[in-house]
Assembly symmetry: C2
Homo-oligomer: 392 residues x 2
Amino acid sequence: MKVSRHKAKEILYSIAGAPETEEIDVRDSYMRVLAEDVITERDYPDCRKSAVDGYAHIPGYESYTSAGETGAGRKGAESISGDETVFVMTGGNVPDNALAVARVEDCTVENGRVFIPECKKGENINNIAEENAKGDVAAAKGSVIKDGLFPVLFYLGRGKVKVCKRPKIGIFVTGDEILEAGEEYRKGFVYNTNKYILESMFRKYGFDFEYAGHVKDSKEDVEAAFDMMSGKYDIIISSGGISMGKYDYVKEVFNTCGYEILFSRTAIKPGSPLMAAKKEGCTFIGMPGYPAAFMTNLVFYIIPFLRKCYGYAVFENEEVSVTMGGKTSSKEGRFDINRAAVRTENGVLTGFDAGTQKTSHFISFAQVNALLLLDEETGTLSAGDRAKAVLL
Amino acid sequence: MKVSRHKAKEILYSIAGAPETEEIDVRDSYMRVLAEDVITERDYPDCRKSAVDGYAHIPGYESYTSAGETGAGRKGAESISGDETVFVMTGGNVPDNALAVARVEDCTVENGRVFIPECKKGENINNIAEENAKGDVAAAKGSVIKDGLFPVLFYLGRGKVKVCKRPKIGIFVTGDEILEAGEEYRKGFVYNTNKYILESMFRKYGFDFEYAGHVKDSKEDVEAAFDMMSGKYDIIISSGGISMGKYDYVKEVFNTCGYEILFSRTAIKPGSPLMAAKKEGCTFIGMPGYPAAFMTNLVFYIIPFLRKCYGYAVFENEEVSVTMGGKTSSKEGRFDINRAAVRTENGVLTGFDAGTQKTSHFISFAQVNALLLLDEETGTLSAGDRAKAVLL
């Protein structure tokens, strides 16, 4: 069952159920997805605060009497009278009836009197609720807790936060020709790469998986892996075994295991073999074995699908426009995904073809940081042409 | 000692020493930095491999006798004679004298004979070294092991990899007004946010730190923190205590502790207080206490500095050009760093001012994903104007 890329995405997104939620300690929330709108619980700031180290006062007097000091976390005078002034540290509360704060470096103290230059009303005072009012939405459900949002949760005084539960993902890799890192090389064999593509790419999005290991190309072994994993995981991802080969048992086995096949090929290059199947709340994703095909399908289809499963509000890939810095070729009438290195040249995102686009090649991924999406009308692009890209 | 941003960067980069190196298991190398050029140890592929599941043969015969099969990890016939054909699985070795592989779906088998359509010489055969030759550089020293590079190391059969040692970084936070997550709110106090800015931003770059805790605003406590940390860490980073305030002891203490002050303010807004000092191989970085000022200095100065300390070949921030989607204001004659949300609109990176640029505000960082670098000539920008940005 070969489907268009649009149909494949439609199917995948339709089977990605809304995640359950849980409340966790905010310290453990990095890379989790918000399952609640984060509402500010009080005004920010909730009292008038000084923007500088300086003298809070009522303008209009020639000089002032010191009435102590107040700082962030240090309680000082709550009000002042006439020509009193309170030294306020940055972030400290400004006495209720003070009208301005003068920078300490602009003031002088002589014989116990403080001389303050002319200030405007409100100068250097941060007003109540000027940043956010109580009840404002600081961050929306479906946001990923990273970058600035993670510390903002602390800033807002959150101790706990409601996040989306993570689906349980199980992985296995098939192939008699697979060696593991550290094993001695044998001619004609290949090293397990796809497990580490998942490790590398999953960490970027806060995904995790359990590795069920490496399964030999026999019907019995693949069946045993399926039996062990079905019911235990929400999503099972396999690598290899889904082509036309005689030893490609994955396709055969998951067919006989009662899974409903949703599609088994999609119209993209590289990596048209991609299977999706469903059985009682378990989604099976069969990925092609070639690392380049595996990576392409992962980025184009599976990461957006998993982002939806993890509760990301924005789950589809962001497509940026890049200017080609050289030639890249695609076949007219086919949707090609070309590997490229994108870098900023004079502030402009500029894409360079990876040199090889063969499905069997992978080493260029050491340099590749983008996939060019070249639709059926594209053909060959030259330097200066624009292309759509997904940045890794 | 106020210095320009250029001078501050020059000083920071000059004190960032080249990291030592260590050899580690490749499985532990995610987000580490290569301390070696990665050289391919053999040809890729190192024997002719089939690009498809199909029949390897010498073109020119009407039909063929089957001479067995071979697959990835399955040894088959090493050569064929005349009208023999070997079924080869994708990735399997092609017999030495076979000249082409026909796709299985294009062939027919009748009465024990295999009928193969016309093939070009070399069709569906991946040649020796066509991907990479032995001795090629697959990845350069100073590259970060993430994205595609991490799995490429496995693909290349690496068991160990030489990486840069990480500097030991110690952190402390100052301020009597600091509450920790989960503590009950007290009016006028603020929650520890800067520690979590570091946690959030450090993880993006593979940096780590030890947290020495929260130090009260007293000379004794700050001095004790310094004594405890000096010598133990390569880099000490503090938050707060470096302004003009009476309780800003950090500046005073590290002065008396024998550190050479390199600068204490830089010409940027927000967050001009930023201290750098040096003593016997230990670098001290004193960051401003306001979270927005802390974040800005971290992104603009400290992350590039740390990337250099960690051995990144490319350590300076990448500046991208964004098109403003609305107004943003800066003061002429000053270097302003404005918070913005950048998103792709019709393929174009479009920047939107965060609404507030006040140093005392931080909640907008829940949405902000870029800092606009607005130099002294900029003034006010309107929709359609271009601006330089660093993406978080």
